[in-house]
């Protein structure tokens, strides 16, 4: 089994402390600013376009199992479903992992109920397609074409099928918004989608969309943690450059902190 080195333990504890501190600050009512993220602002635009055209929306939560990435994607799906329920627009959610399917169904059902439109929820719109990558991709492309979707949302972890999904959506003229922490797939989404939410912005989505103090505080804490990490890196680089990598100070620090 892998275990944390002292460095990892200290850094994770520091990040957790900063994030929790900022959450508590936000709960106490402190005003927090987050910059505009065009990709997230475009979600409402895409829903509006689908509503105007009277066509459904497709939301793919990616290929990962029931992990942090998928839970974040489903939080965004809940927002999309609430907006769609408000404007009487269908949302189709194809899933690949069978464990994600019941969670996705509950999240979308609750989103419709929260908008006071439970009768609009259609359980058949939450579809388990296949747990195989390209079978899932061809299933999603099939739904896009048969249902003539007006807007595609790709949020979650994707692999090689990202370009297939993005290009198929482009061919049918759908407005597309994608967000993924999979850095290898970002270029494919950037070229095939109208808006792409890059890497960490994906985890900022719920805070940006809901403006809940807890989520905003967590987001600001996350940014401060990055600043702390950058300071560590700069200090390490300066020490190593000034003293030399073989100096006793650097050797002792490396041995104590468990770094390589």
């Amino acid at each position: 089994m892998q275990h944390a080195s002292l460095t990892i333990a200290i850094l994770e504890a520091l990040a957790a402390f900063i994030i929790l501190y900022k959450i508590l600050s936000a709960k106490r009512g402190r005003e927090l600013f987050i910059r505009r993220i065009p990709g997230l602002a475009a979600i409402d635009e895409a829903i509006g376009r689908a509503t105007e055209m009277g066509r459904p929306i497709l939301f793919s939560p990616g290929l990962a199992g029931l992990d942090v990435t998928t839970l974040q994607a489903l939080s965004i799906a809940a927002y999309v479903a609430r907006m769609a329920a408000r404007y009487n627009t269908r949302v189709i959610v194809p899933v690949m992992d069978p464990a994600v399917y019941p969670v996705a169904e509950e999240v979308i059902r609750e989103a419709y109920a929260a908008e006071g439109r439970p009768e609009l929820f259609n359980p058949d719109d939450i579809r388990f397609l296949s747990d195989r990558q390209f079978a899932y991709a061809s299933g999603v492309v099939g739904i896009m074409n048969r249902e003539k979707v007006a807007a595609n949302f790709f949020f979650g972890y994707f692999y090689a099928e990202s370009l297939i999904l993005g290009e198929a959506g482009t061919q049918i003229g759908a407005i597309q918004v994608a967000g993924t922490p999979a850095t290898t797939q970002l270029p494919f989404f950037i070229v095939s989608c109208d808006y792409t939410i890059l890497a960490e912005e994906f985890y900022a989505a719920t805070a940006y969309l809901s403006r809940e103090p807890i989520l905003l505080g967590s987001l600001v804490g996350q940014d401060w943690s990055k600043v702390a990490l950058a300071v560590f890196i700069v200090v390490g680089v300066l020490l190593s450059t000034l003293l030399g990598p073989q100096s006793p100070v650097i050797t002792a620090l490396t041995a104590q902190l468990g770094g390589g």
Binding site: M1, A15, P98, F134, T183, A199, L219
Partner: protein
């Protein structure tokens, strides 16, 4: 002790009775949980999430050797702590949930596809193909599995694979399924061309820069660039950096790697923040609060 009892190997009637008992206990617990008031359900979810998160956090954070007996003579250093031995059995819970969920997935597929087929709605042929594929693969797969149950030697396994059922299984899996997957994957070749065309159109300074960079990286990875275009430039001189493979390596390993690492740092901080919110049940704001 209790975990060891649950995960001990069982066979034959004992296994059947154990599985049946587990299903009955599971159903009774689920029925009891269903009757709980929403507030109690909420606290139960919060407690389960916290305990499960705490287990994995402690297992990862506690140093190797914590609450473990010291290694005996001739044994290597202790690499686990006292919680490590429970990681695998606790992981079975995920597998059980996935096994139950696959049944739900198949029910969903059958429900979605039965309506068009029974009412001959547009696209009923797709539903017919789905049911045909599902039933044929299920029957052939189970039949082959039943034949393989009694196999004890390699020769017997070969005989099963060369039987009618074995051949049919290979035809369905290798002959149909794998090729269909390969066909969808092959679409990428065409989509990359159309996507590249859009990406590399010279619409702005950024697009121009990206096109030039991509051109250098591409030339650095093909013989026409490395052997013909700059192959005549000798190594070991100040101007050797002009070789396309060197420029390509520098682009990939320096600016590209720096950007990738910056993205990964941000992503990991995001993962820590979201994990913390889920673990402490703080992620209950707008989307999670009302329904629990």
């Amino acid at each position: 002790m209790f975990l060891s009892f649950l995960t001990a190997p069982r066979h034959g009637t004992q296994l059947f009775l154990f599985v049946l008992g587990a299903v009955l206990v599971f159903a009774a617990v689920m029925a009891a949980l269903h009757t709980l008031p929403p507030r109690a359900k909420r606290w139960l979810i919060v407690a389960c999430t916290f305990v499960a998160g705490l287990f994995y956090l402690l297992e990862f954070m506690l140093p190797p050797g914590t609450l473990m007996p010291p290694p005996g003579p001739g044994e290597g250093p202790v690499t686990d702590n006292f919680l490590s031995r429970y990681v695998e059995p606790v992981g079975y819970v995920t597998q059980i949930i996935a096994a139950v969920a696959i049944g739900l997935g198949v029910i969903n597929l059958a429900r979605v596809n039965s309506a068009p087929l029974l009412r001959f709605r547009p696209g009923w042929q797709n539903s017919l193909a789905f049911f045909t594929g599902l039933i044929v693969m299920l029957v052939v797969g189970l039949w082959r599995w039943k034949l393989l149950l009694n196999v004890t030697t390699v020769a017997q396994e070969k005989a099963v694979n060369e039987s009618t059922i074995g051949s049919l299984y290979r035809f369905l899996f290798d002959g149909l399924y794998s090729n269909l997957g390969g066909t969808v994957f092959a679409l990428l070749a065409f989509y990359i061309v159309s996507a590249s065309y859009r990406a590399f159109r010279l619409r702005s300074a950024e697009a121009t820069l990206m096109m030039i960079t991509a051109f250098i990286v591409m030339l650095g990875n093909v013989p026409v660039g490395t052997a013909y275009l700059t192959g005549w430039i000798p190594d070991g001189h100040w101007y050797s950096f002009l070789k396309v493979e060197h420029m390509s390596d520098w682009i990939m390993n320096t600016p590209n790697m720096a950007a990738q690492r910056a993205l990964i740092f941000g992503i990991m901080m995001g993962v820590i923040a979201v994990s913390l919110r889920i673990w402490l049940s703080l992620e209950r704001g707008r989307f999670f609060e009302q329904e629990l």
